[in-house]
Amino acid sequence: MKLKVWGARGSVPAPGPEMNRYGGNTSCVELELSDGSTLIIDAGTGIRSLGVGIAKRLPKINILLTHLHLDHIQGLMFFAPCFRSESKITIWGPSSPEASLEERISRYISAPLSPVEVRELPCEVNFRDTPPSEWEIGPAKIHAEAVTHRGPTLGYRITDGPTTLTYISDHEPGLGAPLESLEPEWISGYDLARDSHLLIHDCQYTDEEYPEHVGWGHSRLSDTLTFARRVDAQRLLMFHHDPLHSDDFLDRFQESARERWAELGGPDGAVQMAAEAQEIEIGAPVGMGVAS
């Protein structure tokens, strides 16, 4: 599998010259599967740029949504394939006892927030309410599980041949839980992330920032690193950057993360901040297959 990051920012888009290197677009990741097909995870504003490139070449598109907070769906309205009659788009997202996935997404793609309604989109779009479960899309086996965040939220484990990616973009597994000592069966997301070749995980806050944000559904650095070590992830891509964190800040944050990762006994070169346009060959030896 090959991965490309189209948006790694959390909460709200954060454009500006001080954000250029890591990017200001919100969550969106593109996966190229072993048969050449494409799987998209999350539809933050990063999906807009992705859509420009794939609108004509990919009539069938699967999008996995972790949850329906705006930073994970805002780009849907500007996703070029939605406006092509040839497109067949399937959107998978967490189910809720309150309303169907289509009804909940339609609250965004409808007046007064949007000039068009879902039913007016020229593409063929199917919404798949997704409980924790396993299924297949092309050569990929998808495993979805509920994870600790605010509101119904899924994490995804995607296995294609011998390689495994786990994507848990919004996650606070350390809330009220001592991650370093808790039994694995009690750690949110453990089964999803166990032994992944690549773990993409929430790391919105420094440890110093976290006390002001406890319970908001996001991780501090120490919890992200501890979680990654507990699940034996080969490689960690820290994700969902706080909109206040500039490029220079994230550079320092990454250095701090690498030092603490080494203290935890993690392998060299396995920790990285996600950045827009970054490409990764999943399963490649650490330090290879990365282009930014």
Binding site: S95, P97, P131, P132, E145, A146, V147, T148, L175, G176, A177, P184, E185, W186, I187, S188, Y190, D191
Partner: protein, 135 residues
């Protein structure tokens, strides 16, 4: 061992943070966690006791009726919460591992997730001046 459902993980996280004595049981009635306040009442921490099937914990700590006999399992708030999916309340006696009896009131709250019944949280309130001698 399979990972616990998120609803039970969150329930444990909540109970861990409370000073109200509380237990967590799974859908089979197995006690899968209790917090430090409950451990203080029972005279043994969860880390020491570990998980206990329903028969084991009901034999060890009760609850017991006024005559000292075990209360039938169907009448327990926990059972009502698990089988009927509704909150239930009751008052009775429990016995700590040190042999002290406590009169308590207990409320069981079902944990129902999308896939159905996952378990229940049981909160305890000890009545004032309620410690009786070892039975």
């Amino acid at each position: 061992m399979h990972q616990k459902p998120l609803e039970l993980i969150l329930a444990r996280n909540l109970l861990t943070s409370l000073s109200t004595p509380a237990f967590l049981v799974d859908e089979s009635g197995t006690m899968i966690f209790y917090n430090e306040a409950a451990g203080a009442l029972l005279g043994i921490s969860f880390e020491e006791s570990g998980r206990m099937p329903a028969e084991e914990w009901s034999h060890a700590i009760g609850p017991f009726g006024d005559d000292g006999s075990p209360i039938p399992i169907e009448q327990l708030p926990t059972t009502k919460a698990l089988r009927q999916g509704r909150p239930a309340h009751g008052g009775f006696t429990v016995r700590s591992m040190t042999g002290d009896d406590y009169e308590i009131e207990s409320t069981a709250l079902p944990i129902v997730a999308e896939g159905g019944q996952e378990g229940a949280m049981i909160f305890f309130w000890t009545r004032a001046n309620n410690t009786r001698g070892a039975a």
